[in-house]
Symmetry: C2
């Protein structure tokens, strides 16, 4: 088998888990499950598949030191720092440019740093199977079996069935769809032909470079300029010059929707993007009243409530479907149905100049 690399995307910010997530403490740095951060979990779960020198991380200047502390086993040179975040396409491109120096025929797995995966063993098996499929030249996406008709994810439509590999079925990916309306989401989930786009991709490095060249020529040109100075003192200045000029673009829209030979492997691995507080229900067990609780808690007549506590006792009476997030310097209380307004709250705090809690 060819070389197999992991590229962990760890540049995300995210205000939807405010007040726990902050500018200086993005989602991947949070300890939402157990004692380890999301990023630590992301590295841990692939540790048996990859040597540390084969695990790369794309991130930003302000996060690299924190990530290095969380994953000291990874070589510092494997942390690829973008001068500015421009979406997943440039981030993956930068990773590909570095990885092709190691083995241009190698396979890379694009993984996420801030998602939860319950069934880690199956995740590793599907990654291995996907690498086998990718070696043939397919661009492989991991499609998550939908557990509900989410309107928060893009979907991948399955086409022709291609093969079975190690118990997983590989389909041609017929179409990528954007976040759907509730009705469309319902129909897609009912049909059984759609999976969630998890943002995890496995492909040969030369294949994704081909797609960049064909579909995103400006990005490809920039990547070639970076390639020309890789390992020289001109690398940093070149990146600093090129990156701010790039168009911000996601790999989904920039490449995957128009790519050739995209396949999808549907898989049920207990995945959650932990995109908001109510998704804590997907990753933590609930008590008999449906409450999901982290920290010290006592409640009377409280149900379906999420209590993400801090260092103090949280006591509630007569609440239903409420989110309570208690941190050292900020406390959030919101009905579950209003949680999308956390963004608006963060925007207001910005306007108020309350940088210390952002």
């Amino acid at each position: 088998m060819a070389s197999f690399f992991a590229l962990i995307m760890a540049g995300g910010g995210g205000t939807r888990l405010w007040p726990l997530s902050r500018r200086s403490r993005p989602k991947q740095a949070l300890t939402l499950v157990g004692e380890r951060t999301m990023f630590e979990h992301a590295v841990d779960r692939i540790a048996s598949l990859f040597q540390p020198e084969d695990i790369f991380v794309v991130t930003g200047e302000d996060q690299v030191e924190s990530l290095l502390i969380q994953a000291p086993e990874l070589p510092r040179r494997n942390f690829l720092v973008e001068p500015v975040g421009q979406g997943t396409a440039p981030a993956i491109g930068l990773g590909a440019v570095h990885l092709r120096r190691r083995d241009s025929q190698g396979v890379m797995a694009v993984l996420t740093a801030d998602h939860f995966i319950r069934d880690v063993e199956k995740f590793r098996r599907v990654l291995t199977a996907a690498a086998e499929v990718a070696e043939k030249g397919h661009l492989v996406t991991l499609g998550i079996t939908p557990s509900f008709p989410s309107t928060g994810f893009g979907y991948i439509q399955q086409g022709e069935m291609l093969y079975e590999v190690d118990g997983f079925t590989v389909f041609r990916a017929e179409r990528f769809t954007e976040k759907p309306s509730p009705e469309t989401a319902f129909q897609m989930v009912e049909s059984g032909l759609y999976t969630w786009n998890s943002g995890m991709f496995i492909w040969r490095i030369d294949r994704i470079m081909e797609e960049f060249a064909r579909q995103m020529p400006d990005l490809y040109d920039a990547l070639m300029q970076v390639d020309a100075v890789l390992g020289t003192p001109a690398y940093e200045p070149t990146l600093q010059r090129l990156w701010p000029e790039l168009d911000s673009q996601s790999i989904d829209y920039g490449v995957m929707e128009g790519a050739e030979d995209v396949v999808v492997i549907p898989v049920d691995i207990g995945w959650s993007d932990v995109g908001n507080w109510s998704s804590m229900r997907e990753i933590l067990p609930a008590d008999r009243d449906g409450n999901v609780v982290v920290g010290e808690y006592v409640g009377i007549d409280t149900s379906n409530t999420i209590v993400f506590g801090g260092k103090r006792l949280v006591a509630t009476i007569g609440l239903e479907d409420v989110i309570i997030v208690d941190t050292d310097d900020a406390l959030l209380i919101s009905p579950v149905e209003r949680e999308q307004d956390v963004r608006e709250l963060v925007r207001r705090l910005q306007e108020m100049g309350r940088k210390e809690v952002l």
Copy 2:
């Protein structure tokens, strides 16, 4: 005019303001309004009426040091310590025994340490007027003009109008009633003939001793034994011996309901007993959305909510009629309509052995 003394009742505990109030920090020690504690306010507002040596405080062993720090201007000997709290009748009796040594014909005002009074100037005027009335031998009660049909207070029914004194009208007190049903409360308030029993009384010391002798002979007997050893080394042991044996009794039921020559002076002084969190609305101003907020706060679509914050930012979305109390080690969230269950919560914490937050 005869001597005029103040006896501040500062023995209260109170769990209804949990988690702010604690065993070691009862309501009178809380800073609910401004920077001063309730007890400090209680002393401050009578400072222009009484010399410090004429202000006495009845309290418990566990609170006396804290109170001394809050009111360093008062002589230590004026803090009368009950070995065990047995209701207001023994507390007032103990005060009366001490005060009669100073002037048995003097007038004493029984005042509270943990109530809020907005119109302090009028309060002082009515106290002065009440002292004048008390000199004649009446037992004077201050009756608070009801602002709503509360079921949480006892009421005093007005009888014959007796005199006008300094702009206040003195009525014979026809009857003391216990906490009424909602219907009865409504009727009483509608009639205009009832006021709330504030627990503030003004009377000649010899008159209240007479009433103790007549209506509570056991207590009177104990008080006489204390009187016999006052100022001697036997005082402490005598109190320690007698007090645990006393019947626990309030002055209302023990004396006032059966007393002779009780009068009431109705007065509107912006009084609140601050008996629960929703009464914060009576003592603090609300914003345009009806929210009463202490501390740093940002809210979206939040109304009629009480936010008693601590050191951290409190952020809310889509709440209505909710109480949020944030302290260093415990956080309470409850709908206003469920706040009576704070007691149940405290009881549970006791059962759970969570002494450190009680």
